[in-house]
Amino acid sequence: MEILKHLINIAADPKILFPVIIAIFFFIFPPTDRLFKINQWLRLDKVWTKQGGIVLFAALLIAFLFGLSDENFRKIVTKPDNVPIVGLIFLTVFFLWLSLKQAWENDARIEQGKKTNEADDAQEKVLVWPDLVYIEFIAMLFCAAFLVVWSVFLKAPLEEPANPTVSPNPSKAPWYFLGLQEMLVYFDPWLAGVVFPTVIIIGLMAIPFLDNNPKGSGYYSFKDRKMAISIFLFFWLVLWVFLILVGTFLRGPNWNFFGPFEYWDIHKLEALTNVNLSELVYILLLKMSLPTNILLRELWGFLVMIFYFGIMPLILAKTLLKSVYERLGPVQYSIFAVLLLMAAGLPIKMLLRWAFNIKYIIAIPEFFFNI
């Protein structure tokens, strides 16, 4: 048992867990035809059936029950602040399963030439009053009752006025901001705290203008919208939900990583010596000291950025995103590509950090400009 916990602790290190999740993710939600074929071959679509759902939930429950037997895990999971996060896990999995089950069912029906499950829904008429309002009202009553009971059971964790000289360790953002807080580890605050949240909002607003694929409108389907679903779920599940979970359960004192069954030792120290790309290039590769000229020093970083945002879209338009380019045209495609690359920047930066201890690609602390 202890060995198993130890193995889980090791595997929970994001350096291992994150790449593994990314790798698995694209097999479960294949964006391209080739990956889709592998998915079919591995029969991974069976997860989105009734039996699959039962197995999925049973596995989740067992994992939780197993975890609760451990004192450290129990302490974190049962903290009043963290209870919603536990709920979040179950709810996310449930709704994901529900929607994909319907999508895969429809895909099967379309293949057989049948109508989609939702095809008849459009024919039906539902009156706002009483049908919609009534059920909404009933749902509201249940919801209110649920919140009341919850508040009776778990008291609000109200505390004394804060002492500015004593900060809690770890100091965590509210759960819904934990993803952003996690980004702070990898990016300069103005990027992680200002630019990215803005781009996320703009990106969400831009979806209707970028996604002009008429397929999948009014019915659930996976096959028809492989790329869109895969990209969306990647950002939603991996870069948002997963980071919240990491922030809640795996970040301990001094913002160190701790396995789910590891004691949160306040004295734990990890060797973290991060270097900038310029140092990597000049000192390690070229064996010379850093140039005093800032632009010369950061030249390599700028080159990388120019390549990433300037040349990558062109390459992608010729290769991976060829169909998208053809469908959207140059203007919409460029916006789409830049947004996509910015979003992909996060996991790329995380991997660079873990693999090469890279702190910033471009580091000009003189002007508070770090990327």
Partner: protein
């Protein structure tokens, strides 16, 4: 309609019903949960207890009343009176009926009378009208006359009826008055019981009226409880004592009495918590005490979160591990992390006294805190750790600037290595053989470290002349001198560790070092020179000069030097190891230099240089200079953490290392004090980074006492008007207490009811050298001990006191123990004089206001009273150079000192009733305070006692004038008789004298 609907309406209705019920139930649950507060349970339980207590008390009162003969007699009388009333003027039917009839008649008459008056007024108008108009007069006039007559008639009848009724009433009242008076008497007797009964009727459901009973049931129901509930939060709001909530200060609100309901009521002494009475109500909580509840609240002293109303959010702190376990079980207790001043656990509760009483040296009633502060002073914590209270205290350790003349290098080595092996109860702490430096490598390094420090100390030691002794000294005589002269007020001579724990009293005898093994430490000559003049060797020493003659000093030195701890002397000092010394030098040198510079510098140094360099660095590193004067360290700063506000530090800032103890301040302090290096356990550190606080070998109790003091060293101070008022008197007293503590005056004298630590050694001396039996010796101890200084300010003149403290003279030549000469500076002397005056609420400076002139007749009368036939004062008191006839233990001070020493007002009071001024004094009471007017001799001064006292007093004051040979100077040794050759021989102080006011004494006629 229904076919147009998408959902089944019945199903939805059912769902709606279920949802409504679920929501309703959850809201009920919410209400119940919100309503049931833990404090309500306690209030209900207290109400039960209160009813029970009141019942018991009431029954007790009632029984007492029943047993009272007066009450029984009264009851009988009441019964009799009632009987009489029943017989004579009972409210029988006839009496009632006749009264009713009378009343009815009266009512009717009054009714008619009112009507007739109205008719008369009307008739008068008509009559006047007729007169005016001169018509109908004949008819109107008789009409008016007639009515006037009948009104007159009726008036008479009404008065008659009224009288009849009044008579009837007064007859009845007369009967009742007696009963009323008896009832009043009964009420007087049963007042207590009645109060209790009224209370019971208010709180006891069994005794309530029905209406009250119903009200009692509903007033606590939810919502209705907004009006006047039985259960409500009690709170004390303190506007001038605030809680720091970081961004602002808010008034303290203490709700503790919501549950601690019996705290101020002495009836609940044995009640279970939380209802128990607060201990010591005279000092705390009650309205007349120094700390009334309404003004100080609870958390001001106890800490904790006053606004909380349940067990956990009030930040209760368990007193012990067992209590913690019990609380966890009973209250699901857990530390309330977010409140920075949790309640002081019971063992440390006295810590709360310090924040207001920090100026006092001894805080009355806080024994543990006092012990802690006393230990801090004795151990000298303040010299490495800055503590505001001890800002200007002297260094606790001896001067090392002339060390080479005092001890040998070998001895110094052994002493630093393990001071306790030489002197078991020394205050010198152990730096070596501790938990973090006992591994072989550290031991090797430690040996060389000590070598280096010893080398430095001896190299830096300055020359010091030790004149040789006039004689070799007689150890036997020396022993007597040492045991009698007063050394044991501050020192002891114990070879073994005492079994009894240290107390505030025993610490007075640890003021100076234990004198064991002195011969192994230093030479006879050094001891001789030290005794002759301690200040020469150590200018700031607190050791006073006892004015020993050369011979006495030589004897004492011979005796003290006899004691040699041979075993220690035989232990070899390990050889020097240059390689290790190099390491030490390097470890310090590389801190400020590069490795190359270090190597270059070290190449230039020989072994002596290295030892000197390492020794200097190590003395700075370990902070030896904080306690000792060491040459070269005059400007160094203390090395320890500032402890002035240590009690306000949060536990998170303390390094608990790998030690599993409670993460509380108190646990950490106590652990640190008992084992200072323990937090290094399991850590990998370079030698110079290791913890270096030395080990004082405090016992658990001592560590607990010091912890109490540390917890009390807090940041926040309450409003000035809540502190002890800073009047000049209080400031003088605090200043004086500080000096008294520093110079250990209470080692000899009893002051403010404490002290006199020397007395046990006086008993010992009486037994060992004066051949007294144990019982005798104990009985005589006070006679041969230094005087009790109660009322000293009232007793002696300010100027005399000032001079005496500066340069003592002999007052009691029969005492072996002598008042030493201290090197008090002017500030000390003034502070002490002011202290004594303030303590006895005396005017300062003192001016004599009493007329002390004597007429010739009065002089004769005084002489007469003084003579053997009357009071025989010369039997005990020394007069000039004439010693009293009686045995020494009954001797009393010289009269010739009185003029300059005593305040005349005091002499009068003293003569009148000595026991009132100094309980237990040997001075006989000549004037019986019980029958003062008849107590004096009748044949002197017409038997006027007050006059006798006045004359006798004024007579005493002439005595110094009558014996011009004697003045306030010490007597010559020849005059003091064979038993006290040493005593009066005050060594003249030729040292630098501080400026002092000159003594001006006007001689009486």
């Amino acid at each position: 309609m229904s076919d147009e609907r998408h959902y089944n309406i019945n199903k939805l209705n059912r769902l709606f019903a279920i949802a409504s019920i679920v929501l309703f139930l959850s809201l009920v649950w919410l209400f119940v949960d919100d309503y049931s507060r833990s404090w309500k349970k306690y209030q209900a339980a207290f109400r039960e207890l209160e009813i029970e207590k009141t019942r018991v008390k009431h029954d007790g009162e009632a029984n007492k009343l029943q047993a009272l003969p007066e009450y029984q007699a009264l009851q009988q009388e009441i019964a009799d009176a009632q009987k009489t009333i029943a017989e004579r003027c009972s409210n029988s039917a006839d009496v009632k009926k006749s009264l009713e009839r009378l009343q009815a008649e009266n009512d009717l008459l009054k009714h008619n009378y009112k009507i007739k008056i109205a008719e008369l007024d009307a008739a008068r108008y008509r009559y006047e009208d007729a007169i005016h108009k001169k018509e109908n007069l004949a008819h109107r006039e008789p009409q008016f006359q007639k009515l006037q007559g009948s009104v007159q008639d009726l008036k008479l009848k009404v008065e008659e009826s009224d009288q009849k009724i009044a008579a009837q009433h007064s007859r009845q009242a007369e009967c009742k008055n007696k009963a009323k008076e008896l009832k009043r008497q009964e009420n007087n007797l049963s007042k207590q019981a009645a109060v209790l009964e009224r209370k019971l009727r208010r709180i006891d459901p069994d005794q309530m009226t029905f209406a009250n009973y119903v009200a009692d049931l509903v007033r606590d129901l939810p919502i209705l409880d907004l009006a006047s509930p039985k259960s409500k939060i009690e709170q004390i709001v303190l506007n001038d004592i605030t809680d720091d909530v970081n961004f602002m200060r808010v008034p303290k609100v203490d709700r503790c009495t919501t549950c601690h309901l019996g705290a101020t009521n002495p009836d609940y002494k044995d009640a279970p918590q939380p209802f128990r009475t607060h201990p010591n109500l005279e000092l705390f909580l009650s309205t007349n005490s120094a700390h009334p509840l309404e003004e100080f609240g609870c958390t001001t002293c106890h800490g904790g979160r006053g606004r909380g109303t349940d067990f956990n959010n009030t930040a209760h702190t368990p007193a012990s591990e067992e209590q913690k376990k019990a609380w966890e079980k009973k209250y699901r207790w857990e530390a309330y992390h977010h409140w920075e001043t949790p309640m002081y656990p019971l063992p440390y509760v006295e810590a709360g006294c310090f924040k207001c009483h920090s100026g006092e040296t001894t805080i009355k009633g806080a024994e543990k805190l006092n012990l802690g502060l006393n230990l801090i002073e004795k151990a000298g914590c303040y010299s490495c750790h800055t503590i505001d209270k001890y800002k200007d205290w002297p260094k606790p350790g001896p001067d090392l600037t002339h060390l080479a003349t005092k001890v040998s290098k070998e001895w110094a080595y052994h002493w630093i290595e393990d001071p306790k092996s030489f002197r078991h109860n020394t205050w010198m702490p152990s730096f070596y053989n501790q938990s973090n430096n006992s591994d072989p490598e550290s031991l090797r390094r430690g040996q060389q470290e000590i070598q280096a420090m010893v080398h430095y100390l001896f190299a830096a030691s300055e020359e010091f002349k030790l004149p040789s002794m006039p004689t070799w000294g007689d150890p036997k005589k020396g022993e007597e001198t040492v045991s009698s002269i007063g050394c044991f007020a501050c020192h002891n001579l114990q070879h073994e560790l005492a079994a009894a724990p240290r107390t505030n009293d025993s610490l007075r005898r640890e003021h100076g070092p234990n004198l064991t093994g002195l011969g192994a430490k230093t030479s006879k000559v050094w001891i001789y020179n030290w005794l002759k003049d301690p200040n020469r060797y150590h200018p700031e020493t607190r050791m006073p000069n006892l004015r020993l003659s050369d011979e006495e000093a030589a004897d004492a030195a011979a005796f003290l030097a006899e004691d040699k701890d041979v075993e220690l002397m035989n232990k070899p000092v390990p050889p020097l190891d240059e390689a290790v010394v190099d390491q030490i030098v390097k470890s310090f040198m590389v801190k400020a230099n590069t490795a190359q510079q270090t190597a270059d510098q070290m190449a230039k140094m020989n072994l002596d240089d290295k030892l000197f360099y390492a020794g200097e660095k190590l003395i700075g590193h370990y902070g030896c200079f904080s306690c000792h004067n060491i040459k070269g360290f005059e400007n160094y700063k203390p090395i320890g953490t500032d402890l002035t506000e240590e009690g306000s530090k949060s536990a998170e800032r303390l390094d608990f290392g790998f030690i599993h103890i409670d993460h509380t301040k108190q646990a950490w302090f106590k652990q640190k004090l008992q084992e200072p290096r323990i937090f290094d356990e399991g850590k990998v550190k370079a030698p110079e980074d290791k913890l270096r606080m030395p080990n004082f070998d405090f016992t658990e109790e001592e560590a607990g006492a010091i912890t109490t003091a540390l917890l009390g060293f807090v940041k926040d101070k309450p409003a000035p008007d809540k502190m002890k008022p800073q009047t000049p008197e209080n400031i003088y007293i605090e200043e004086g207490q500080k000096i008294i503590r520093q110079f250990n005056c209470q080692g000899c004298h009893i002051m403010e009811g404490e002290g006199g630590a020397i007395q046990s050694s006086v008993t010992q001396w009486l037994m060992a050298f004066d051949n007294r039996s144990e019982g005798d010796a104990q009985a005589l101890t006070t006679s041969f001990s230094p005087p009790n200084l109660i009322g000293e300010g009232k007793k002696v003149q300010t100027e005399w006191l000032f001079n005496f403290l500066h340069e003592p003279v002999t007052i009691r030549p029969w005492l072996k123990v002598r008042m030493p000469t201290y090197r008090f500076n002017a500030a000390h002397l003034n502070a002490l004089v002011k202290y004594f005056n303030a303590l006895d609420k005396q005017e300062f400076p003192y001016t004599e206001t009493v007329d002390i002139k004597l007429s010739p007749e009065e002089f004769v009368a005084g002489e007469k009273l003084f003579s053997a036939e009357y009071f025989d004062c010369g039997k005990c008191h020394i007069v000039g150079d004439k010693m009293p006839a009686g045995s020494e233990e009954s001797w009393a001070p010289n009269f010739t000192l009185a003029r300059t020493r005593l305040k005349p007002e005091w002499i009068s009071e003293w003569l009148k009733d000595p026991q009132a001024l100094l309980p237990g004094t040997k001075m006989p009471t000549f004037f019986d305070p019980a029958s003062f007017d008849k107590s004096g001799p009748e044949d002197v001064l017409q038997g006027d006692e007050n006059k006798q006292i006045e004359v006798l007093r004024n007579y005493f004051l002439t005595l110094s004038a009558k014996h011009p040979a004697v003045d306030a100077r010490p007597q010559s040794p020849k005059s003091t008789g064979p038993l006290k050759p040493a005593e009066a021989e005050a060594m003249p102080q030729t040292e630098t004298q501080t400026t002092k006011p000159s003594l001006s004494v006007t001689q009486p006629e």
